[in-house]
Amino acid sequence: MKVTVDGTAVLARPGQTVAAALLAAGRTAWRDTRGAGRPRGLFCGIGVCFDCLVVVNGVPDVRACQRVLADGDDVRTQHGAELPR
């Protein structure tokens, strides 16, 4: 399965979550906080903390640890608070 992460093609396995694919690709952070602009990535891993937010196919506020990738998904870093495209 092929997906893009911040414009770069990444291979993903069916059933893999966004967070798993990003970690496997060597990323640890994929969001900036809207206050201090600090990097964030995986924290609770089970959908509780909302820290691992990404933008998937133009829709922000998607929990990377919960969202299972679909072929062709376009994933990108979320910068602070964003409006859906």
């Binding site: 829709v59 608070a81 409006l83």
Partner: protein
Amino acid sequence: MVSGLAHPDVVVVGAGIVGAACAEALTAAGLRVLVLDRGPLAAGTTAAGEGNVLVSDKEPGPELALARASRERWPRLLAELDADVEWEEKGGLVVATTPEAVEPLHRFAQAQREVGVDACTLTPAEARALEPHLTPEVTTAVHYVEDAQLNPVLAATTLLAAVRRRGGETRPFVEVSDVDGERKVTGVRTPQGTIPCHAVVNACGPWSGSLTAKAPLPIMPRRGIVLVTAPLPTVVRHKVYDADYVGAVASGDAALQTSGVVESTRAGTVLIGSSRQRVGFTERFEVPVLKALARKAITLFPALAGVPVMRAYGGFRPYAPDHLPVIGEDPRLPGLWHATGHEGAGIGLAAATGLLVADLLTGRTPHVDPEPFRVDRPEVMVA
């Protein structure tokens, strides 16, 4: 904190925004004030409000006069206290989305202009220039530059901090079970004992009707629910509401009324109201109410459809049958003062209400005409 003021001049019951404003004005007048609340400070209706300081939703009359006095006083008061309570002069935008709503809105604004309100009628294009994400369906709008907003909990706790600095005391988690005295007030009764005093201010909001059986008030809870979105970049700049809101506020119907009211907070969330229901003090949430609020918000701002809703919370407005606050001394029990019945406008009206209570209690010339708010009007003296 338990020792504190043994002999206060005034006991204020209720540490919401109205009680805080009364206590602030009374301590500014040199009185020793004790504020009691059965819960924490500013945790009831005050914590459930959006923090509106509005003139836009009021037709000419005594409430508008009080609102304008309060709108003028709030920024001065905050400057005196050197307080940051997220005060924002954001302005209000009342929007019509149907052809039929144009004429009544224009008439409403014209009447307000005649008494001096800054109400500027806009074309749809002008409205969308002020609010770029506003629906293209807008048929007309009125811009009220005076409408403002603050963080009500910060405001109340800041006023109460000023009270403490002036030697007053705030005592949370103390419930007043009754007001003592037969011909006049002699004290308030609490589980921790009686506190002697000669003046009590009832600022219990929706619970003020039953502070004492000696002087019941027909104040009822009118429930409201607010939806809160995830933090967003700036999408909504003003307080924006549908022109049908004024009708919903003025209605005396107990059944559910909803109206689209949308605004941002400084934290980036968007607050979505409003609903009005007289259903007692129920804490139950009904999905149909949440759905109606969501629909109306999207009608005003279609771009909000894809935004996450992260929270819904409810609160109780203190509703008076004639929609006017009750401010003044109770003739049934001299020494008992009421400052209640502000319904959904308590944050906005608090600054003027506190000052008016202090004026009347200390015998100064009142800064606004107190007559329309008097306690012994027939709509209030039902018992």
